[in-house]
Subunit: 397 residues, 2 copies
């Protein structure tokens, strides 16, 4: 089986490396050798062992009948979408790690693959190397999935872990994450939560079999989380995690990306550093959790190659994925219910006049108090919090 890799960055070169390092076992499991014939990239790679495979025109791949499987590791929606669509229409199976492409065009590309009796697989688009897409599709089929909540972004989890353990400020830890290559020069997609937002939209689409638009998911990032918030968290014996969450309610789904303060008994509380974790609750299964390297060159490439192996073994068998283009109307996040931790400079009398009896967290930061509200509608909290001075507020999980 000859394959092509589109995009020779971190993931693309990782795919070439996994295929090389584990060549023998992959040959055995796929039933035949899996050989890279082309690598599509705009750049040249003089001295690279795969130098001679570099091509600059994707049409070369489209038109080569020897190529049966294509790996897309370019990132972004365009031109990845155009290239992937043409590959599928030409009868080539595609494996991708690109959550932007899958969140936006997943339903359409799945339908084309089904039509052509081939496969479009995206196991690496959520959770890096953690098997979560396939377990959802294939293993939890006897269950109604009532909740999926995940730490789906390794960069922000690394940042929050360091802030928690070392008291470093957001700005300093961001610089450090950029220096280590965990955060990009423009960190917006990570720190504003846009990345986990796309990932929870993908997971929710798979759970309900219909299109969840990521633009409908209420999303808050971690840019407002300060060292003082972590001082409160320490006193409360909680961790602060950026969660992407989806809960089924009254026949639809309530989705949100936001920082949460987690109790130490929560299965995701101890998912630290660049690791990802995905918590799933099924109506029969109960609680389950998947944990592992959510990003990084080799773990993500390992997930892409696992999809490639599966596609080589099922060359002309479409493995059914239910994800129709029909759009799901998510529940307005203002109708969801949460408890809130609030930091305020308002006097207790004012707090209690608005929120009634609350649980205080005191003596943490000078000239302010913290308190925890009862569970209430997001809309109710929004109204009430306008009546006192709010320094910051974080939901409780």
């Amino acid at each position: 089986m000859k394959i092509a890799i589109m995009g020779y960055g971190t993931i693309g070169s990782g795919v070439a490396e996994v295929l090389e390092v584990n060549k023998d076992l992959i040959t055995e499991r796929a039933g035949e050798p899996v050989e890279v014939k082309y690598i599509l990239d705009l750049r040249e790679f003089p001295g690279d062992p795969n130098e001679d495979k570099i091509v600059h025109d994707y049409k070369i791949i489209v038109e080569d009948n020897e190529v049966g499987v294509v790996v897309e590791a370019m990132g972004g929606v365009e031109p990845a979408y155009t290239f992937v669509k043409e590959m599928l229409l030409a009868g080539k199976q595609v494996a991708t790690s690109n959550k932007n492409l899958v969140a936006e065009k997943g339903a359409e590309l799945i339908a084309i693959a089904r039509e052509k009796n081939i496969n479009f697989m995206f196991g690496a688009s959520v959770g890096g190397g953690i098997p979560i897409i396939r377990p959802l599709n294939k293993c939890l089929t006897a269950d109604e999935i009532e909740e999926i909540t995940g730490i789906l972004n390794g960069t922000t989890n690394y940042m929050l872990t360091r802030m928690a353990n070392e008291g470093i400020s957001f700005d300093d830890v961001l610089k450090d994450a950029q220096a280590k290559g965990y955060a990009e020069a423009d960190p917006t997609a990570d720190v504003e939560g846009f990345d986990p937002c796309r990932k929870i939209a993908i997971l929710t689409s798979l759970v309900c079999g219909k299109q969840v638009d990521y633009t409908d998911v209420y999303t808050e990032g971690i840019t407002k989380i300060s060292t003082e918030d972590f001082e409160y968290a320490r006193k409360m014996e909680r961790s602060i995690k950026l969660l992407a969450s989806s809960k089924s309610e009254n026949g639809s789904y309530s989705c949100m990306v936001a920082p949460f303060m987690l109790d130490k008994t929560h299965p995701l509380c101890n998912v630290n550093d660049v690791f990802n974790g995905v918590f799933v609750h099924g109506n029969m299964l109960g609680d389950a959790m998947f944990y592992g390297s959510g990003a990084g060159k080799l773990p993500t490439a390992s997930a892409v190659v696992a999809d490639v192996v599966d596609m080589v073994k099922h060359s002309h068998v479409n493995i059914f994925i239910e994800w129709e283009p029909e759009k799901v109307q998510l529940i307005d996040y203002r109708e969801s219910v949460n408890k809130f931790f609030v930091r305020t400079t308002s006097p207790k009398a004012d707090v209690e006049a608005v929120f009634g009896q609350v649980e205080y967290v005191e003596d943490v930061v000078a000239e302010e108090i913290g308190f925890v509200t009862d569970a209430m509608l997001e809309s109710e909290f929004a109204d009430k919090s306008e009546k006192i001075v709010v320094i910051n507020r974080i939901r409780l999980g």
Copy 2:
């Protein structure tokens, strides 16, 4: 699709319940209704909603061409083996939750299913509802799996958790577990580690694609673990867990079931109560962990029904599982390397004369001391420990 359930105990009745409660979504995912036609059991169930489906002769199922899938939830090797084999030979697909049957006859039954172009699935035989069998088979195919270590027995994990948290003795917690229905009247299979021994043999067989005989796996249970051991564990900030572990070494595998003292950073350290957890290390993926309800009626039944759904969708497609009858020669456990925690009444001078410099754990139990050895061969430890008085010893993880 008509199915039959063999064995109407906890799991078998759970399968009927899952099929009933989630009927609509299972019909949708399987592509057709999945209906129970027969339930094989020696007993009658007057008043049970499935009373009229009870049959006592398995031949009725073998000879009914309408039955395409059979669930085996009888437990034990015989007569389950005879019945399952006849079902497969008659062209009926089989899903089982029976680790005794799979550990002993898995390779043969997989081969028969392949021959008949149908499937023999056993996702519920290890880890209850946790998807671990399929991820190993289908998701981690790009990796060389270098280690699988699991908490694979919910009963003993419940017992150890209560001993750790409440200082209860082994005998008292066993009585409580029996009263709650977590432990059987004869608890040997759980407390002596025979149950996780079969499960790690199954997982190792899947990792290497060959037969691992459970009788070759060195197995220790938890019957020697005392409240004093937990006092030491508390001081050392470790938990004591019954681990089933398999590590690849020099082209073969080193397998062991035994209690280990886990550091609090170990991913399995906080897997408590009746939960199971499976830690996997792949050479590309790095660390991953799967966690969930490892036993119980509905979680296990959920895993069985997920296999049924998959088989209904793939009625005449064998999903390849590599597990050949060729036997793997495991590495002798005496050649594996561990660190040991030891409790002794021997004086420090004697300890140091035998073990050299060690790390002491003192002032926990009167008139004895604890110490931790360097990493050494099991055989070396066995020789050395004969030269001092050993009250108990537990490996470190």
